[in-house]
Symmetry: C2
Subunit: 438 residues, 2 copies
Amino acid sequence: MRAVDQVLEARWVVPVEPHGTVLEHHAVALAGDTIVEIGPIAAVRDKYTSAPRVELHEHALIPGLVNAHTHNPMTLMRGLADDLPLGPWLQQHIWPAEARVMGPEYVRDGVELAIAEMLRGGTTCCNENYFFPDVQAATYLRHGFRAVVGLPFIEFPSAWAKSRDEYFDKNLAVHDEFKGEKLVSTTLAPHAPYTVADESFARIRVLSDQLDIPVHLHLHETAQEVEDSRKQHGMRPFARMQALGLVDERLIAVHMTQLTDAEIAACAMAGVSVVHCPESNLKLASGFCPAEKLRRAGVNLAIGTDGCASNNDLDMFGELRTAALLAKNVVNDASAFDAAFALQAATLNGARAIGLGDRIGSIVPGKQADLVAVRLDALETQPVYNAVSQLVYATGRHQVSDAWIAGVRKVENGALCAIDADALRAKARAWRARIAAN
Amino acid sequence: MRAVDQVLEARWVVPVEPHGTVLEHHAVALAGDTIVEIGPIAAVRDKYTSAPRVELHEHALIPGLVNAHTHNPMTLMRGLADDLPLGPWLQQHIWPAEARVMGPEYVRDGVELAIAEMLRGGTTCCNENYFFPDVQAATYLRHGFRAVVGLPFIEFPSAWAKSRDEYFDKNLAVHDEFKGEKLVSTTLAPHAPYTVADESFARIRVLSDQLDIPVHLHLHETAQEVEDSRKQHGMRPFARMQALGLVDERLIAVHMTQLTDAEIAACAMAGVSVVHCPESNLKLASGFCPAEKLRRAGVNLAIGTDGCASNNDLDMFGELRTAALLAKNVVNDASAFDAAFALQAATLNGARAIGLGDRIGSIVPGKQADLVAVRLDALETQPVYNAVSQLVYATGRHQVSDAWIAGVRKVENGALCAIDADALRAKARAWRARIAAN
C-alpha cells in the first residue's frame, strides 16, 4: 500500500493519451502536484485505501484545457467595440482605450478577472501575449495558475518600454526573475511581421536559441498582411520568417489564415506549432485557417481564444467546438477534425506548442495534476452515448465543476477557491468607468 | 392607477423593437398573458403601485428566443453518431435508431427533454419538424410552451403514416384538433424537394392557401441536393418550388446554403423567410449560408438550431453567436451581421417566419409576455459596455435566470418551474439504452 494525497474517482476519464480513449469508472491518484496512477476505481482503492477521495459520479475528468493564445489583460475591454473592421477597431477604440489605462494595475486586474473566467471554464494554463509580463507572471503565481508569459516586442514605444533596447533589457530581466518557477515560464513574443523589423527578429532568434524558449508570433492573420509584406519585403511573411531563421520547432505561429500547401508542408517539416483562433478570425473577418489541412499534414495544431476584445470570451469549450465545426465545412467533409482531435488540440497540442508537452496536456503518470471535472448529467448533455462527443459538441463551460492545477484544487463544486468574485466584479466596473471615458 | 398582474424591473431592457434599442432601468408591466407597458422603473411604479414586482437588478430582459427550426424528439439522439458524412450518418445510424424507437412515447419524452433544455437556455418558442405532430402539440400544451408544429410529409411510409393519403388525412386531423389553441399552431412540413413529389407539393400548396398556414421546408441544404435536382428535374430545387407556386410569403425555407444572387433577390421579392442553422451546416459540412447577403437584400432571416443529432444542442445563444461570427468572415467584413441584428434574427425574425410576428418576438405593448431575463453580472460578461454586445458575443445560456411564456413563469432564478429534471434524466437514460442497442 502506497500513500497518495488525493484520489479522483470519475464516471469517465478522458486521458487524451492514448488518443481517443474513454475510460469508464476510473480513478486518478495524485501525489503532491503529480499524477501517479490511473486505473479502475476498485483497483486504485485497493492500492491506496487511505487516500482522501473525490467522487465524481456524473463527471468526465479531462486534462485542464490549454488556451494557447490570449491577451488576458484585455478581458477588461470585453465588448468595448464590436462589429467594426480591424482598422477602426484598433485605431479608434482599442489603442486609445489602452493609452488611457495601460500600466501595472490594469494588467494585474485584467489578468485576475481572466484567471477567474478561465478556471470557471476548465482552462488551467494559458499562453499570454501582452505588455507588463512581470506583472502578469507575478499575478499568475499569486493565484497558482499555470501560464506562459510572452516577453513582448514591437517597434513602437509603449508604457512597457520606450526603445528597442529597453524592450530587450526589460524582457530579459523578466525572464531571469521568473526562471525556475514551476508554474510560470516565458516565450519571446514579437508582435507580428508587420510591426517588427528584421534586426529585431534576428536578435529574437539568437535569444530563442540561447534561452531555449519558444517564439510566440501573430503570423498570416489576414490577406492584407500577406499582401503588404509582398509589397514591402518582396515576399510573404512566412518566407520572411524562414529567411530570418525563425521557422523551426520553437515557433508558435498564431492565426495562419492564409497558407499555401507548400507553407503547410514547411510547417510540418520544421515542427512549427500553429495556434488556431477560430472565433477571433470569424469576428474580425480575418479568413479561414486551414485547420484540417494542417492536421492532416501532421502540424501540431493548438487552439486559442485570442483576447476578449475580439472574441469576446476565454471559453475554450466554445472555442474547441467552433474549431471542430468550422474545420468540417471549410474542407467540405463532416468527418474532418473529429471530436477526439478537437479535445487533443485544446489540451496536449497546446501543451506541446508552449514547450510543456512533457508536463501537462494529458492524464499520464508523471505529468502534473492539471485536471478538470465536467458534469455530464446536465440536461443539456443528456443522454450520453459518447463522452468525448458530449464534451466537444454539447458541453457548455458552466458544466465545469472542479479544477486542479499542480494538484491544488482551484474550483470546487462550481465555486472558485480563494478568489473573491464580488471583488473582481467591483474592480471590473471601476475599470469600465475609466476605459469608457472619453 | 391601473391593476396589472406583474411588473418586471430590469437593469437593461432590450425590446428588439425599435431596432438596436437598449433601455436602462426600465420596467415591463404584464396583465395576464400580455405586455401592457414598458417605461422607466419609477414611472411604471407610480402607475401600477400595487403590482407584484420582480426585481432584475443585474439582468437584461429580452424577448424569449425563437428557435425557428428544430426536430426536438431527436434530443434523445444527441451525440449518437458524430463526425460522419451525411449519407452514412443517416443510413447507418439515425434511420436505424429511429426505426427502433419511433412512436408516441419517444416523441413525447424527446419533446419534454427539449422543453427543459430550451427553457433553461432562454428559448420560449420553437418551430417543430418531426413525426407525430399530435403528440408534440399535446406535450407542448401540457408544459405551457409555445410551439409551431409541422405536419410532416415525406413520400415514404413511417410510423406516423403509411401512404400519401394517410399523411394528409392524419395531418389535417391534427390541424383541426389544435386549431384555436393559444400556444400551439401548425405549419405544413414537406420534408425536402428530394423526398417529396410534385403532386404532393401541389396538394400542400392548395392546403397552405386554404388553411392560411406556412410551409416549413428544408431547401438547398447541400450542393449535392441542387446538383441532383438539376439532373432529375432539369432545374434547381428553388426553381422547382417557384414553378410549383410555393415561393411566397408563407414559405419557411430552411438551410439555403446554396443561393445565387438572383435567388436571394427572388426570396426578398416574394417575402420568403429563410432559417439559418449555422452549426448544423458546419457540422454536416453542408456549406455556408449567405446570411449577410440575405440580410442586405431584406430577406426575413431567422435562426434555428436544427435537431440535436446534428448540432448537438438547442442553444440559441450559441447559435445566434455562431451566426453573427460566421456571417462576417463569409463576406470578409467585420461590421456585417451586427449584434443587434443577430438578436433580432433570433427573436422577431423567427416570430415573423412562423406567422407570429404580431404576437411575439419583441417587447411591445399588446404582444404576448414571452420574456427572458439574463444575468450579466457573471464574471464571463464583465464589464458591460454594451448590453447587446454582451448578450450576443459573450453570454452563455447558463446565464438565463428567468423565463415567462404568455406571462407564466417557466424558469425562476435558474430553476425550472414545474418540471422534474431528475425524472427527465432518468427517462433520457432509459431511451439511451434502447436507442444504442443493436
